[in-house]
């Protein structure tokens, strides 16, 4: 009687040990690198790296949102659509931009006025995506295709030679409009 009980206990204990070991090994072996939620949030963010949210870079903001330390309505370049996507992903309520954050600007590119540039390299150091080329006492210029329009190069410029120019539509980037009927007089 006692022996049978002992055998049963031993079998169960052995089972527990084997399963526990397997789970423990799997936890180490198949460990997820980084926080997958942060990656998901980061992929929604527009990657302007502008810091308007108050965190260093889009990744920093993504981490803060994932930890629950930041609201989802702090990213003006992402627009309302970005907030909606974040709300969907995180299961939170949609929140409109709070005052001071609601300035949705048209997408722009920085342009350096090459006549005024003195070649101080301050903007190069400020650019988060290395989109400015130039060297000390040489003219600087912006690689338009890489510029995210974050405006971080504007404040350090000592001669105010950088301007933000909105990106205009051209034949290639033109989009078909939503089909709409013009309302006319009924016959």
């Amino acid at each position: 009687m006692i022996a049978a009980l002992l055998v049963a206990l031993l079998v169960m204990a052995l089972g527990a040990v084997i399963l526990g070991a397997t789970l423990g090994y799997a936890a180490v072996k198949f460990r997820v690198e980084g926080d997958p939620l942060v990656e998901k949030i980061d992929s929604i963010l527009p990657q302007t790296q502008c810091g308007q949210c108050g965190f260093p870079g889009c990744k920093g903001y993504a981490e803060a949102v994932a930890r629950g330390e930041a609201e989802i309505n702090c990213c003006p370049p992402g627009g309302e659509e970005g907030i909606r996507k974040l709300a969907d992903l995180l299961g939170r309520e949609f929140k409109p931009f709070s005052d001071g954050f609601n300035i949705e600007k048209p997408k722009s590119t920085a342009i350096i006025d090459e006549q005024t540039c003195i070649g101080c390299t301050l903007c190069i150091q400020a650019c988060p995506v290395d989109a400015i080329v130039g060297a000390a006492k040489q003219m600087h210029t912006i690689i338009a295709g890489q510029c995210t329009g974050c405006e971080l190069c504007l404040p350090p410029c000592p001669v105010n030679c950088i301007a933000m120019v909105p990106i205009t539509e051209n034949v290639v980037t033109w989009k078909w409009k939503y089909p709409a009927f013009s309302i006319g007089k009924a016959a």
């Binding site: 527009p46 889009c58 980037t173 078909w176 409009k177 009927f181």
Partner: protein, 511 residues
């Protein structure tokens, strides 16, 4: 008549063809206009870089725009004259936007630059492709995809079937029909060049059976040229039999699946006009500077014209005399064409037809009614899509779901809108959804690139910091070692400091 087995594609419609008016008269050469406006961006892909500037004299066929990027094609001057400007001009595009054009004032001599035939038989395939790219040859069926990218033998090293598209299924358009009748031999010779370039086992020229003269002309041309393995095949008339995938299906039975290319199945398709242009480019060394354009619709005499690129549409329409109630210009046919912002836009490589419209000819669409999900559109769709589902999601701006129904495979042929009993402009919704999807994709790519560059920058800054710390540590260790060598204690430190001061003074004196 051949006994070739033909296949069917799904769906399709039979609109009124209205082709008779423009096949009464032979092709006429359009006269030189007072000003040619040649857009640099005329084909799919990168915008060519301008090679000329205002004041320069150009000759006919001179390169004025160099291809930029892998998918791009050259642009040439279509007559001799003086470049007046390289400036923004209204484009033949629905948007009404402008783009860079080379404006040429013809000198009237119309004199060719130096032309040399391309010895393509003794060149390797990359060199021939380069020659086609520099000759600006693009698909003249309407899609204007650079032909050099298509003129290769594929992964297998040879094609099974080369399809030459002479179906011309769109109503009103007859430019391919007339070209096959009048210049059939050159089309066949061009097809033979393509056959040799792609190492195709057989060449099938597909022509709809509403063009018996073109079929007879092509069969005669094949006999006259003595080219082998080329056959003109009559196919049933049904719109859109001239779509590349539909024509391949009809002629070979191969249904090219979603996300693959026809070359993966040993088939490639070129338009008859493209075959003609390839002959001209390789055998005569003439770049693509003109094409045959049908002028039809609300005009006195519908006709086909050989038009130099850059000729304002207004000048071409004037030859056919537009009727007074004309209210719109459409580039292409009534099914797939685009409304032009003005009649001053130039004829470009994509202009197969200038369709002149009036309220009587194309009455305004009746009001859109709700979709009743009858499924007529799905029965008519030649690409086996479900337009009513795509419509639903496009309308609701749920683009991911519309994409899940293979929105990208839509060829915008207009069959669904043609049969819709609720008269919903389905294609307008799909065009809207497609351009939104495309814009999002470009934005996403840009964001990914920005993320990569930002992360690389952080990494670099971190590395610089570590390297600096390591350098300082090494220096500190060195100094320490030196001190230890010189002897320990304050005396040594003081001596070292004095030496440094002396050195510094010496330096400043020297300066």
């Amino acid at each position: 008549m051949s006994l070739r087995k033909l296949f069917n594609f799904h769906g399709g419609v039979k609109p009124a063809y209205n082709k008779e008016a423009s096949i009464q008269l032979p092709i006429a050469a359009a006269p030189l206009p007072p000003e040619l406006v040649i857009p640099l961006h005329q084909s799919i892909g990168g915008t060519p870089r301008p090679l000329v500037s205002a004041g320069e004299h150009v000759r006919k066929g001179q390169l004025i725009g160099a291809p930029d990027g892998y998918v791009s094609s050259a642009v040439h001057a279509s007559t001799s004259g003086t470049v007046k400007a390289v400036e923004l001009r209204l484009m033949p595009h629905t948007s009404g936007l402008s783009a860079f054009c080379v404006v040429i004032e013809p000198d009237g001599k119309d004199e060719w630059g130096d032309l040399a035939p391309v010895p393509w038989r003794s060149m390797n395939s990359d060199e021939v492709r380069g020659a086609l790219r520099d000759a600006g040859v693009v698909g003249l069926g309407g899609a204007v995809f650079p032909s050099y990218l298509k003129a290769n033998a594929g992964k297998q090293g040879h094609l099974n079937t080369l399809v030459i598209n002479g179906a011309e299924c769109e109503p009103y358009i007859t430019c391919d029909d007339m070209q096959m009748r009048e210049q059939g031999e050159i089309v066949v010779r061009g097809a033979a060049i393509l056959r040799d370039l792609t190492k195709a086992r057989q060449v099938l020229i597909g022509i709809e059976n509403n063009k018996p003269e073109a079929i007879a002309a092509m069969q005669a041309a094949i006999k006259a040229t003595g080219e082998t393995n080329i056959e003109a095949v009559t196919i049933p008339t049904r719109y859109p039999a001239g779509g590349a995938k539909q024509l391949i299906r009809v002629l070979t039975g191969i249904e090219v699946p979603h996300g693959t290319r026809s070359t993966d199945y040993g088939v490639q398709c070129f338009n008859t006009g493209t075959a003609y242009a390839i002959y001209e480019a390789l055998e005569l060394g003439r770049p693509l500077i003109s094409r045959i354009v049908t002028v039809a619709g609300n005009v006195e005499t519908a006709r086909n014209y050989e038009v130099r690129f850059g000729t304002p549409m207004r000048d071409v329409i004037a030859l056919s005399k537009a009727k007074p109630d004309t209210d719109r210009i459409i580039m292409g046919g009534p099914m797939m064409g685009y409304r032009m912002p003005s009649d001053s836009v130039p004829v470009v490589k994509a202009t197969n037809c200038i369709l002149v419209g009036s309220p009587a000819l194309f009455p305004p669409p009746p009001p859109e009614m709700p979709c009743i999900r009858c499924g007529e559109c799905a029965r008519a769709c030649p690409t086996d899509l479900q337009p009513f589902e795509m419509y639903w999601f496009s309308r609701a701006r749920l683009f991911e779901k519309a994409e899940a129904y293979h929105l990208a495979d839509c060829i915008e042929c207009g069959c669904c809108a043609f049969v819709c009993p609720a008269r919903i402009p389905l294609v307008d919704y799909f065009r809207f959804a497609k351009s939104e999807v495309w814009a999002r994709e470009t934005e996403k790519d840009a964001a990914d690139q920005a993320r990569q560059r930002y992360e690389f920058r952080l990494e670099r800054e971190e590395r610089d910091k570590q390297e600096k710390a390591a350098r300082l540590a090494a220096k500190a260790a060195e100094t320490k070692a030196k001190l230890a060598q010189a002897g320990s204690g304050d005396a040594a430190l003081i001596a070292a400091a004095a030496a440094r001061t002396q050195e510094a003074e010496g330096k400043s004196n020297a300066e």
